[in-house]
Symmetry: D3
Subunit: 240 residues, 6 copies
Amino acid sequence: MGTRNDGRLPDQLRPITIEPGFLDFPEGSCLISFGRTRVVCAATIEPGVPPFLEGTGRGWVTGEYSMLPRSTYERTPREAARGRLSGRTQEIQRLIGRSLRSVVDLKALGPHSIIVDCDCLVADGGTRTASITGGFVALAEAIRHLREAGKISGEPIRDHVAAVSVGVLGESICLDLDYSEDAGADVDMNVVMTGAGRFVEVQGTAEGAAFGKDVLDDMLAVAAKGIDELVKAQAAALES
Amino acid sequence: MGTRNDGRLPDQLRPITIEPGFLDFPEGSCLISFGRTRVVCAATIEPGVPPFLEGTGRGWVTGEYSMLPRSTYERTPREAARGRLSGRTQEIQRLIGRSLRSVVDLKALGPHSIIVDCDCLVADGGTRTASITGGFVALAEAIRHLREAGKISGEPIRDHVAAVSVGVLGESICLDLDYSEDAGADVDMNVVMTGAGRFVEVQGTAEGAAFGKDVLDDMLAVAAKGIDELVKAQAAALES
Amino acid sequence: MGTRNDGRLPDQLRPITIEPGFLDFPEGSCLISFGRTRVVCAATIEPGVPPFLEGTGRGWVTGEYSMLPRSTYERTPREAARGRLSGRTQEIQRLIGRSLRSVVDLKALGPHSIIVDCDCLVADGGTRTASITGGFVALAEAIRHLREAGKISGEPIRDHVAAVSVGVLGESICLDLDYSEDAGADVDMNVVMTGAGRFVEVQGTAEGAAFGKDVLDDMLAVAAKGIDELVKAQAAALES
Amino acid sequence: MGTRNDGRLPDQLRPITIEPGFLDFPEGSCLISFGRTRVVCAATIEPGVPPFLEGTGRGWVTGEYSMLPRSTYERTPREAARGRLSGRTQEIQRLIGRSLRSVVDLKALGPHSIIVDCDCLVADGGTRTASITGGFVALAEAIRHLREAGKISGEPIRDHVAAVSVGVLGESICLDLDYSEDAGADVDMNVVMTGAGRFVEVQGTAEGAAFGKDVLDDMLAVAAKGIDELVKAQAAALES
Amino acid sequence: MGTRNDGRLPDQLRPITIEPGFLDFPEGSCLISFGRTRVVCAATIEPGVPPFLEGTGRGWVTGEYSMLPRSTYERTPREAARGRLSGRTQEIQRLIGRSLRSVVDLKALGPHSIIVDCDCLVADGGTRTASITGGFVALAEAIRHLREAGKISGEPIRDHVAAVSVGVLGESICLDLDYSEDAGADVDMNVVMTGAGRFVEVQGTAEGAAFGKDVLDDMLAVAAKGIDELVKAQAAALES
Amino acid sequence: MGTRNDGRLPDQLRPITIEPGFLDFPEGSCLISFGRTRVVCAATIEPGVPPFLEGTGRGWVTGEYSMLPRSTYERTPREAARGRLSGRTQEIQRLIGRSLRSVVDLKALGPHSIIVDCDCLVADGGTRTASITGGFVALAEAIRHLREAGKISGEPIRDHVAAVSVGVLGESICLDLDYSEDAGADVDMNVVMTGAGRFVEVQGTAEGAAFGKDVLDDMLAVAAKGIDELVKAQAAALES
């Protein structure tokens, strides 16, 4: 069990940077990097809520996700040109939305909808985990904006939420896989956790052979360590 | 922690039935019931493989999923009329395909594609787990058909695969949620396992509060018990 | 002019079965079989009417139609995946709707819309005629449900409506063609009639040579005999 | 049973005009009028045949149909803008194709495809019957063009084909309904016949009460008279 | 610098004809020809305005554009069948709308929307310029209809608007290119001008080498001469 | 004629920055800023050419364009979610492609296709002109990459190409409009020119009153000055 392609230890994240206020117009935004992977996150506040929430006084948070065509090693055609979102995109959008909502008190948010757009400039693995982690920063900024504008009084954010991947590569359990590692992993898991270290989503998939409970336990422990560091990076970005 | 709506114990499956050969034309098919939930599974063998597998000698298995409009308590409009598959449908289709492929030796399958269609007649919760569990029976029948027709010689099926849901309802960890239970669960998890009791997919989501590692462990233990019974029902159906 | 593939006489229907209440949730439903052809029919009551009927006090009845991908001998791709309904599907949907409306007093139905979904499990010829014939049973059940719920007082159903195919095969005029007969017929006609023996729709098509008035007359007479038996089967199902 | 809105006798066609060679580029074309209804018909010869006919030596004929947005009394939005063809359009396209193919010896046509486009400039009822009647003239011109170019030697056209509507208005059976008559008819029938007076398509629909065999017989007799006159107009146009 | 294919002088228009009132139902319509190019223009008045104009008291004018499939030398498939408008069509529609709005006082038009449909029967080059030129005639007729119906009192039409193409072919600057000239031009420009000789749109494109200011000036002078003649033809048509 | 909102002189560009090599994977890329407007440009080399160029030995260059949803002051929904590209997007894509091709010797490029993706991070006016100007830098980088890889020997780039907007605001002719200026301009013109100062595209539109030849001349002179500076910025970026 030695070091990895890029010299990292198995349980080491790639270099993480978060640049808040990256865009000019959104209520909240940031540019987040997990190594080469770069995602622009933007949170937009819109008045009103979807029909199924009307009259409940509760707000809503959703995520949207896309990749620039040449964020990938080979160019990926635009979904807008194909006329429909791929299954992968829709699955990621649903995951981002659920993850962000898990730490928002929708009652305290009141009748506002927040759309968190995650657009990948460079996709070198981990775009969905970077999107959730950076999306939280954009969301928190937008909610601060709402409060400063006097539109809400309480604090709808109950905790941080962040996400990281973990996988089995040969004998090692590795944290925060880059694209080449992801392509060669036997098991691939995305874990979404709160700042308090509790699970929001656990999505593990055996790409090759099925895996046992002991491997699952080890992966979750490594993920928890990564989440802890990501939450610290979020906090630092939000204080700056 | 008493009994459930329908009198089941927390770790008890709904009545499971599998009727193999339900349709006239497919190479493999069955009607599977998890309580009121009923899904028609049909496996179709098509010559050739998708472009990315051409020339590799390997086969392929995919899943498709749909619900009859009135499989649900209130009618759900057809996706064909809307002109696009919902994100939920695509997510389930990808899950069915990955789960079934996890127990197939694609090299031994040779250059054949198998499409497993899962169409829900009645959707009272657990349609994706019933689809995977019944889809395996249809798939195994179709592969038996290939072998009996002399088109393959080895045995591409390496193990059973089955799926079940488990959730946290109040204080209880409950197996195989029906629709009303699913709507009220705090945590909802779908577990796909092999006959050997190893994990293929673990997808857990906190619908309300995030959950701790102890709850996760308990849910996985209950799921394993359910999978064991489903695998026995599959075996019985395939022997009949 | 001897017997047919399956031993039937020229003017003989395939075995007809109708199983009412086949689904758990719809207001009316049945499984109808014309030989191997099997169609699930479900009638859904929805409040309100389409815009062009608003304020008139009249109700509406429409039909929707689909085939399971592997209802056919070779698999037919899903229309939802293609993103549009084929011309054939739309033509059949319009026919089902018109046929069912022909025996409903829309004024007596009041401001309710009823959607009759016809989904083919097995398609061995005659799916549109089975859909209309079974659709009537589902519709009648749903309307009975409306009356029992006190939502309407009169009887909107004025008569039965049923449908059957008839074709010219070589020298014979044959009733209720199965798939192989349909593919070889020189003339193919679908006839929709009321219980009183009057025409609702007559759709005859020369597949090969055009046909004369005498052949048309003979076909209509054979169709009328078939309709008579179908109406009896409907009545029996509705009494059970 | 007096005269009609526009002074016609019940069994009288509207004024019929056919202007062959109306367009500059197609191999065959005409402008056909049934009263105010005007349809531009254009036949295009394309090399090759659809996949299901490849290698058979047989040709193919299809129809396409559209209405200019303001061919109707109130403007009808373009189907191209909606992104899909309506059910009505597809049904008419299939009818035009079947009707034209019924009089073409596809073997003698050889491996050519002919697309007959029918575009309505003014739609005052009877656009599908005018399309078939004018489409035949465009088709015959295009086939003549093929023969004159030495691309075929035999005569693929076996007979004329024309179409007309007939309906029940109150007590009268009326030929060639205009839009206002069509909207008020109790029974509406489109009849496609050959020059020899044989049936190609019979499509009768009860809009109100179902109808008896005697009415059907009377309608067919009136239609046959109209077809006879239309065939004469076609012949005159093709000789000019 | 001699004469052109068809004997025209470089700065000569093709024969121009405008037949007002060409269609039966629209509030304004005409058939316009620029040589072989023929476009049916129809103006429809609809009550109300798009959402962005609601409550402003201003009206709106838009253009729609389409080509009959066989308006072209080789058949062009229908955009309705492809399910989406091409970029070219949308670009032309936007140009027609902007051009027509440039001479309409939208305040004086009041809360009415006018849709000007331009459908090409024959497309031999210059369909967008013929559409704008003929579209103005249809629009002016429709506005006259509004005034005669007492729905508006002032005169929303402030001036004529017409359009023409001009191009560089070898050494010559040629007016009103036909299809074969357009395909061979080094520079292609569409100019939209008012009756007063002022510019509404100037769209020049170098197809081969880029061009200098002197060439641009010469092209604009030739275009102005053509516009002058087109405006006279419009006036004559509107007086008839 | 004083200064502008942001203190610029009428004929002054916003601050221009070009950061080449902005993305990790494309053969050529840059981030270009025109003031707040920021566009990521990426050039992808793909083997082969579109069908209409096969066998000609010539290459091809196209442009694609999109805006991040929150590049705009208010959020703009994704075109991928709507399922179709807007007319505006298609018009801009066509303009980018034509502009870039105008300075490329497609014969010297050989059988390669280059797609230039222009994705706007911030859209404060001038996104299409920034896309063309930055797209040229990405394109030139990609072509240099082709040459360094030994895949082409000659120099397909014949000159620079850049674009800028110019408009009439009140009495002033202003260069490089930002969003607020663009919204208030009476005339809006986009000019695409080569390094040699020749025109590739001239697209001028009167938003309010039509404009005279003198105004057109003045606008073109101001645009030429801006193009000159943009070409210098391109050259500096390509040398770095």
